[in-house]
């Protein structure tokens, strides 16, 4: 089993082509069979090649006849609705692949811009960015600020509802201590943060700190 990429073109080497044909034909038949069994549906396959005088079929000549009659009984429109040849099939695949590529590029661009934003936050210069980059960067900053403000909002409602619950429940042990816990945690954090800020502020050009404007 090759793990090499095969070029999507007619194989010019005769022996290689014949060998590939045998293997892939076998694989194709297997796949039709699996599809039919797993999904409980009717199917047939016909393969003609210069290597076999008779066309090879699945499931059997009788089976093929059965499916063919079922197929040909259908109105013309029904038959052709989902009928494809190489051209139409490849065009469809190209469209899907192109759409996927566009999405990938968009996602990667967003990741790139986010990276740039983090770098600029820690002091990297804006000199090398062109207008397009700056615009994207500005947009990304706005998106992040939006999200921060949104979260501020939820924190507000959380604390106000906590306080409302506490006052409603009266000075009951549980609520009061919960509130106190939240407050102490925040205070502790504040102290740690303040220490960190001071350290960063005092250490000039420290790349690991937050870059302050001005």
């Amino acid at each position: 089993m090759t793990r090499k990429k095969v070029k999507l073109a007619y194989i010019t080497n005769d022996s290689a082509r014949k060998a590939t044909f045998k293997k892939r034909k076998k694989g194709l038949m297997k796949k039709v069979s699996e599809l039919s069994t797993l999904c409980g549906i009717e199917a047939c396959a016909i393969i003609c090649s210069p290597y076999d005088a008779q066309p090879e079929v699945w499931p059997s000549p009788l089976g093929v006849q059965r499916v063919l009659s079922q197929f040909q009984k259908l109105p013309e429109m029904e038959q052709s609705k989902k009928m494809m040849n190489q051209e139409s099939f490849l065009r469809q695949r190209i469209t899907k692949a192109s759409d996927n590529l566009k999405k990938q590029r968009k996602d990667n661009r967003e990741k790139e811009v986010t990276q740039a934003m983090f770098q600029c936050l820690t002091g990297k210069s804006l000199q090398n960015l062109n207008l397009m980059d700056l615009n994207d960067l500005g947009w990304m900053i706005d998106q992040n600020l939006k999200e921060i403000n949104k979260r501020f909002g939820t924190f507000q409602t959380a604390t106000t509802s906590q306080m409302a619950a506490a006052s409603m429940a009266g000075p009951s042990g549980e609520h009061a201590s919960q509130r106190a816990e939240v407050q102490t945690f925040e205070v502790k954090n504040d102290n740690m943060q303040r220490q960190q800020w001071i350290v960063d502020f005092l250490t000039p050009q420290e790349p690991s700190g937050i870059w302050w404007p001005g």
Binding site: F21, S49, M84
Partner: protein, 217 residues
């Protein structure tokens, strides 16, 4: 690790029990089957016809050079016609298919490049997150962290605006950053923050078409 799909796992060859899974399996496998058939015809020049009925009794078919042609050939047991016109038609069709295959290969290759790039970028982000708290997703930040980040971001935004203004004013003649699409929507940056002078000639570009594959710095 929770697996999303059953790829590389052995599947029992019996009719699937879950109706929803059955439909999905049909879609995926039918698509894969046609893909294999397409490859077989391209690689080896074989003539193929495949007909499948969906669980909902809709019929899908794939054929090269065409479903009808192959069926006819099979039923009538006739060897393919050997006329000059047929050869011409066939040659033209083969040329088109060749081109389409090349196009498809190109797009698939580019997709792989983007995928790798995406993975690199995600790696960088992950690595950064372990060292710098502000690179973590915002929902993981504490209140004071968010406050500090907000101040820094607002400061950065001011500088970005300043720098953009500098570039705009300094620009004489057509801007060089025009990417691919000229049919873009101008992405309004921030008029409130004393942004761009609306009387100047503003560039038109579409956020979705910007700077692909270009490094940032």
């Amino acid at each position: 690790m929770v697996r999303k799909s059953r790829g590389r796992q052995k599947v029992e060859m019996v009719k699937m029990s879950k109706e929803s899974n059955l439909q999905v399996t049909f879609s995926k496998r039918r698509s894969g089957l046609f893909k294999k058939a397409s490859e077989l015809s391209t690689l080896c020049g074989a003539e193929i016809a495949i007909i499948v009925f969906s669980p909902g009794n809709k019929v899908f078919s794939f054929g090269h050079p065409g479903v009808e042609a192959v069926i006819d050939r099979y039923i009538t047991r006739n060897p393919p016609q050997n006329s000059g016109t047929m050869h011409l038609i066939e040659a033209h069709r083969n040329a088109t298919v060749r081109e389409l295959n090349m196009q498809l290969t190109q797009v698939v290759n580019q997709s792989e490049i983007e995928k790798k790039r995406g993975e690199e970028l995600s790696q960088m982000r992950k690595a950064g997150q372990s060292q710098c708290w502000w690179e973590a997703p915002i929902e993981e930040l504490t209140l004071p962290q968010m406050e500090q980040l907000k101040v820094s971001l607002e400061g950065l935004k001011k500088n970005v605006t300043k720098q953009a203004q500098k570039l705009l004013i300094g620009n004489s003649g057509p801007p060089q950053f025009f990417a691919s699409s000229s049919s873009g929507v101008f992405f309004p940056y921030d008029r409130k923050a004393g942004g761009f002078n609306p009387n100047m000639v503003l560039p038109q570009y579409d956020y979705n078409n910007l700077g692909y594959g270009r490094g940032f710095f």
